[in-house]
Symmetry: C2
Subunit: 235 residues, 2 copies
DNA sequence: CGGGCGAAGATTGTATAAAGTTTCGCCTGT
DNA sequence: ACAGGCGAAACTTTATACAATCTTCGCCCG
């Protein structure tokens, strides 16, 4: 039979080496340890993960497709530097998609999911309490990802993963104050609405949550070059 | 200065060899010349395009990320075979995104764009008139892509490219009748609404257009295994 | 003293070869 | 005759070597 040495049809995040590299770099970017514009040399990363350039290249190409890395021909890979225009597009897309995602998540409400949501909120609160900015940033994004997983729509989930990754870079570049993370309270409110299966409130809360995140940003128009210089000088 | 040897920020479809392979295979899939389930051997494709397996592999990985190719570990790449559940997700996403895209396209109305739209409609009519099913399928998808380009939103454009590619496979697998292509008339109606800058009508027309396409499909629930067997036996 | 040219070094792009896995045919044993 | 397992062939995966390109630094000229 063919079903002898069958493993899971597709591992959730494939524990192969390419995925380990991709997730490692992604985490570093999302936790703001790798700043936009940073050069990602192939040999450099390969040595860190003990992998050949072939695998590193594959991982970087995937990240480029996700939009958090730019690959310039014959120059290499760099952490992406979203422009204000990109930022507006990303948040517009999130405002369009995420209310719908919450709506679908409510169709999947179950004790198991509510448990996972509650557990996540606890983690967020704890990270915020101990002032761990990196963990807060990561967990804040993971909350939205969790809701998307709950919705069961793989297309929306894929789109949102991309949008969340880009949002993390955008928030790093353009936030006004040093607001640690965007409203854990908002997340709690959304979970409450989900628990009550109140679609309208859930959608509205998600929308206003996204609006408040974007309102915290300073998206001036001709900022790209200025910021580039400022960053380089700051480094 | 850093801005000395700057070329175009990003070539439209990068005339490098990887892109040529990717576009060639994509066209073959979108025109229904490569059927779902077909094995895409690396040597095979490499020989066709006179390229090494390295480049073929890169192209196939990009196609896998776009969702029209599945890569099974240690087995190779195959043309994707969307399930009915996938199909419903794809069309739901299109119903969510495309009305918004049309709305934004209206912001960009200009003689140049109206000209391009009109020219496209002419091509579609011509292909349909001469019964060229392959060209009709391709052009039908390209219409939606054109509107997305017109909207100027690169995020939506990227998402829609993926959705269109998957839609083409879905229509091939699940269409009821041998309807040649889905409503060139619908496209003409949408263009008219765009020309009049009538947002509400444009959104409504796009929505009903998508609904009619999906209504032409036969999305039975437990079809996956049946279809796989049937196809294999038929081949 | 500033600017441009040029060669050396470094880095990426591509191809080829080695290693591991799956698959299919064939052979043996019952 | 048929089930089960062994083995070879084909393919994918990974690593390494080579070629092309860009960057950098030094030097020369104006």
């Amino acid at each position: 039979m063919a079903a002898k040495t069958r493993q899971k049809p597709d591992a959730p995040d494939a524990s192969d080496r390419v995925s380990r590299i991709r997730e490692g770099v992604t985490a570093a970017i999302l936790e703001h340890r790798l700043l936009p514009g940073t050069k990602l040399g192939e040999d450099e990363i390969g040595e860190i993960y003990g992998a050949s350039r072939t695998l590193v290249r594959t991982a970087l190409q995937q990240l480029a497709h996700e939009g958090i890395v730019n690959i310039e021909k014959n120059r290499g890979a760099f952490v992406a530097r979203p422009t204000p225009a990109d930022a507006r597009e990303v948040f517009e897309a999130r405002r369009l998609i995420e209310p719908t995602i919450v709506d679908h998540a409510i169709d999947a409400v179950s004790p198991t999911w509510l448990d996972r949501l509650g557990q996540h909120l606890a983690e967020e609160r704890e990270a915020e309490l101990r002032g761990d900015a990196r963990a807060s940033v990561r967990l804040s994004g993971e909350f939205h990802r969790l809701v998307a997983e709950m919705s069961g729509h793989s297309i929306y989930l894929g789109f949102l993963k991309e949008l969340i990754a880009r949002s993390s870079l955008i928030i790093l570049l353009y936030r006004r104050h040093d607001t640690p993370a965007c409203g854990t309270d908002h997340h709690a409110g959304i979970v409450t609405a989900i628990r009550k299966r109140d679609r309208e409130v859930a959608r509205a809360q998600m929308l206003s949550h996204l609006n408040e995140i974007e309102a915290e940003l300073f998206l001036k128009d001709p900022a790209a070059d200025e910021l580039r210089l400022a960053d380089v000088l700051g480094a």
